[in-house]
């Protein structure tokens, strides 16, 4: 055998190396390992699979309670199917359900209030501490210094009302909504039958932006299009509703009431129409001053247009004049609600009725309660309560008054000095001031009238109703009124309504509020009007916690961390403001900023349209520190009938 010399060895070795290199390349190994490298560096998440099924559920985002179908993959809910009958707010409920910032254990405040610094505690510990606090207040004879604020009427709010009232406090409140405002102004919640209506005249009610029952209005809206129902929107900004309406009647901001009075005047004087409701005489005497011409001067709407609207309203078979300015957040003076509702009674509309909520009966208040209930008067609304009353304890059920009320700052100051319990799934601006935050479950986790929960409740959270029950059971003397084991026993008992009556035109209110309004509109120091608008899905702020809301927002609302306010081009020219300029908005109360200017003629002159729902200080990592909250600087004049600040029009200037 030939000896392998050095040269041959090099040849063989070289060949082997070259061969294996070629072989490796052609085997595809380098490419596969590159693919692995790609995957490894990217750390791709693979959603786990499982048995697919669709579960029937009820969306409890709003009182409308749409029935929905939830697509399940194993135990995971992955999609809400609304089959063309839901609303965008319901579509975000999965983001609520699986929100990474959800609280899963009761939290106790540590450190100074308003910083949202909490430590987890057990349920027993929290309930024991809260109830002993309540017992202490009762013992010291300050029963009426316990108050509650609910986001909206539902099972848990009725339970909380019952608890607070049974202790002897009248101070159980709701955040201002369409229902609370109309109930305050006209004596009952307004129930519109939009499906029967053949002429809709909306006075700043942004029907398609979360107003009332979003889902059913959307349905009615598509039927209006099919039935060729005329839908006219009176508003100072071409909002989404105004854009979808058949006609947008642009007006000077805040002057909706004058349009209504002008129409009423025309109907009464020219058509000889009238209403049988109380105090109509006094009211129509004041309305008599607002001929269409006079109204035109105040509103900027041509007198002819006002007459046309009046004629159309009287001609229609079942016309509806819609009161309650705003979308998710509503603000109207009671005079305005009365005036618009009054139009319905003048034209004898069959499509608007009133109703009222009825709490479930059978409460047995504690012995000392009767005295307090008789002595301390309930305020007309929560804003009035914050402004005029002091309290030792506030139970917050899902609400966010620190953020949503014009009196947020005043409330925060009072919360710092009192004992605050917040029951909610996400820590919000109000919960930041809480001594205890109790985690509640969301709509898919609760049993409803429609059946079992869609998904298992997240560990550690319980139904808000259960939380109230657990507290109430520990309060001395209340056990008898709260004998239920769980909220599920109450599903059939709650949510009852009944007809309401007793509408009065209240001429004196009209007189006073018109005087105030005229004075405000004539304020030369603050020459512009701030008109809040609402961005889709964000609504009045609750939606911003759900990051998919941001997928909808365009550059006209919120872009690169800056909130955009819309200003009429002529007005901007007059004030020397150019597009994209940074601004501060100033009112008598203070200033917010900076925001950016978006010049567009889709807003009335002398108007600054500011998106609401931004500027949270604490409301999950997705909503915090985004934009500004205009409610900090809005009009805080409290309406005597609704007890709520009429903030929808605020006089401002820019800098």
């Amino acid at each position: 055998m030939k000896k392998i010399d050095r040269k041959d060895f090099l040849k063989i070795a070289g060949g082997a190396i070259a061969g294996s290199a070629v072989g490796t390349v052609f085997s595809g190994a380098p490419f596969i390992s590159l693919q692995w490298l790609v995957e490894w560096t990217q750390d791709q998440h693979v959603p786990s699979s499982g048995l697919e099924k669709y579960l029937k559920g009820v969306c409890e985002i709003c009182p409308n309670k749409c029935s929905i179908s939830v697509r399940m993959i194993g135990e995971r809910a992955v999609k809400v199917e609304t089959s063309n009958s839901g609303c965008p707010f319901g579509q975000t409920s999965l983001q609520m359900l699986y929100h990474p910032d959800r609280i899963t254990t009761p939290l106790k405040n540590t450190g100074s209030k308003g910083r949202a610094k909490f430590t987890p505690v057990t349920w027993d510990e929290a309930i024991k501490d809260i109830s002993s606090k309540i017992n202490g207040i009762i013992k010291s004879g300050k029963n009426d210094r316990i108050a509650s604020i609910n986001k909206e009427r539902n099972l848990s709010s009725e339970l909380l009302d019952r608890m607070v009232n049974s202790i002897g406090s009248n101070h159980s409140y709701y955040e201002p909504t369409l229902d609370t405002l109309t109930a305050g102004a006209v004596g009952g919640m307004l129930d519109y039958n939009f499906d029967d209506a053949d002429f809709i005249l909306s006075f700043g009610a942004r029907l398609l932006e979360g107003w009332g029952d979003s889902a059913s209005i959307s349905k009615s809206f598509s039927r209006w299009k099919e039935r060729k129902v005329k839908f006219i929107q009176v508003d100072s900004v071409c909002t989404r509703t105004a854009s979808a309406a058949d006609e947008w009647v642009p007006i000077k901001p805040g002057t909706e009431i004058f349009v209504a009075l002008g129409i009423a005047n025309h109907l009464i004087k020219k058509k000889g129409m009238g209403s049988g409701a109380a105090d109509f005489g006094a009211w129509s005497a004041i309305a008599g001053e607002y001929t269409p011409e006079a109204a035109s001067r105040l509103t900027g709407v041509p007198a002819k247009k006002i007459e046309e609207l009046a004629d159309a309203l009287s001609r229609a078979k079942s016309p509806v004049a819609v009161a309650g300015k705003g979308g998710k957040a509503i603000s109207s003076s009671s005079a305005e609600i009365i005036a618009v509702y009054g139009l319905n009674t003048i034209v004898k509309s069959r499509s608007v009725t009133t109703k009222q909520n009825v709490n479930f009966a059978g409460a047995a208040p504690i012995q000392t309660a009767a005295k307090f209930l008789a002595e301390s008067k309930k305020c007309a609304g929560f804003d009035e309560f914050v402004k005029t009353k002091n309290f030792d304890m506030l139970i917050v059920n899902g609400a966010d008054p620190v953020y949503k009320s014009v009196y947020g700052k005043e409330l925060a100051a009072k919360l710092e000095k009192s004992f605050v319990v917040a029951i909610m799934p996400l820590v919000n601006d109000t919960a930041a001031y809480a001594d205890y935050v109790l985690p509640s479950i969301t709509s898919f986790e609760s049993k409803t009238a429609a059946g079992d929960p869609v998904v298992k409740p997240v560990d550690g959270a319980i139904h808000a109703g259960d939380a109230v029950l657990r507290i109430a059971k520990m309060v001395e003397g209340l056990q008898q009124s709260f004998q239920w084991k769980s909220y599920t026993d109450l599903i059939a008992l709650t949510g009852k309504t009944a007809g309401a009556a007793g509408f009065s035109f209240k001429g004196d209110i009209l007189k006073k509020q018109l005087a105030d309004l005229k004075k405000a509109l004539g304020d030369a120091n603050y020459s512009l009007s701030l008109v809040p608008i609402e961005a889709p899905v964000v609504g009045d702020g609750d939606g911003l916690a759900f990051p998919y809301a941001m997928k909808v927002l365009g550059s006209e609302t919120f872009s690169s961390g800056k909130l955009y306010v819309q200003i009429n081009r002529e007005t901007a020219k007059k004030h020397g403001i150019c597009n994209n300029e940074s601004l501060k908005i100033i009112t008598e109360k203070g200033k917010v900023g900076s925001v950016k200017a978006l010049l567009t003629d889709s807003v009335s002159p002398d108007t600054v349209a500011v998106p609401m729902g931004f500027g949270h200080k604490f409301y999950t990592r997705y909503a915090e520190d985004k934009g500004v909250n205009p409610r900090e600087i809005m009009n805080d004049k409290i309406d005597p009938l609704t007890g709520t600040a009429s903030w929808l029009v605020t006089r401002v200037k820019l800098s």
Binding site: V38, Q42, D43, Q44, H45, V46, P47, S48, S49, G50, I73, A77, V78, K79, E81, T82, N84, G86, C87, P88, Q91, Q95, L97, Y98, H99, P100, R102, E209, A215, S218, F221, S222, K225, C238, R240, A242, S243, A244, P250, P536, V537, P547, Y548, A549, K551, V552, L553, G554, S555, E556, S560, G561, E570, T600, D601, S602, V603, S604, R621, K626
Partner: protein
Amino acid sequence: MMKDMENKMKRRWGMAIDLDKCTGCGECAVSCAQENNLPIFEDDSDIPKKMTYLDVMRITNDRDAKFPDVKVAFIPKMCQQCEGNDPKNPQPPCVSVCPVVATDTGDDGVVSQIWSRCIGCRYCQVSCPYEARVFNWWKPKYEGSFKKSLNPDVSIASRGTIQKCTFCSHIWKKERDKAVMKGELDINAVLYTPACVSACPTGAMVFGDLNDPKSEVSRLARDNRAFRLVHTIDQKKPDEQKKFRAIKNFPNPKVYYLSSKQWIRDLMRFK
């Protein structure tokens, strides 16, 4: 032979959106994001870099009008599923340009995209006249428990890849699989509804088969209120159209918009 005939694709998916009914509520976009596992960022307000398939565009005619004659409308815009001049041989602007065959037109006319094939050159994004393709500028994020609501039918894309609307064709595939389980082998047997269409609360969006003359979408596409987004060649006379199409392809989207408002049609033209 018979079987082949039966299994020939007949579908040509298209959409019609009635802008008179659209309220700009954004439910379509949220539903789309949920269905297609779109990433979740803490601050998603960098709009030009935002990952979203469906953009609800707010348009006003303040280019042509002044207060108080200004109007506003909302246009939900997703991938328009262009097909070029010849529907039988679809040539969307974006498909032929991809260097790595990451995007293709299916025989049902839907322009697909394979996230895991895409190298992220963004050439297709450049070619798209509707800004419908979006790029993962950052690594897609799904914070903690948000991962629980991810749809297993849509894979998660990597950073640096293009994603786009596919008319939710994974839903169709799922429906077809279900039909096959029941013994139905005809590929045309099932219809489906994309997430945005099934969410629309006013029923403004209609989805269906453009090849089926009886389907609602093809009826709406022929409606005299119908137009296509920034596709003004549709308004030219037939002989002029023919002349133009001989020179170059036109996108010919399969998404039709309907509006009774003249100003929206006027706004489709550049001035």
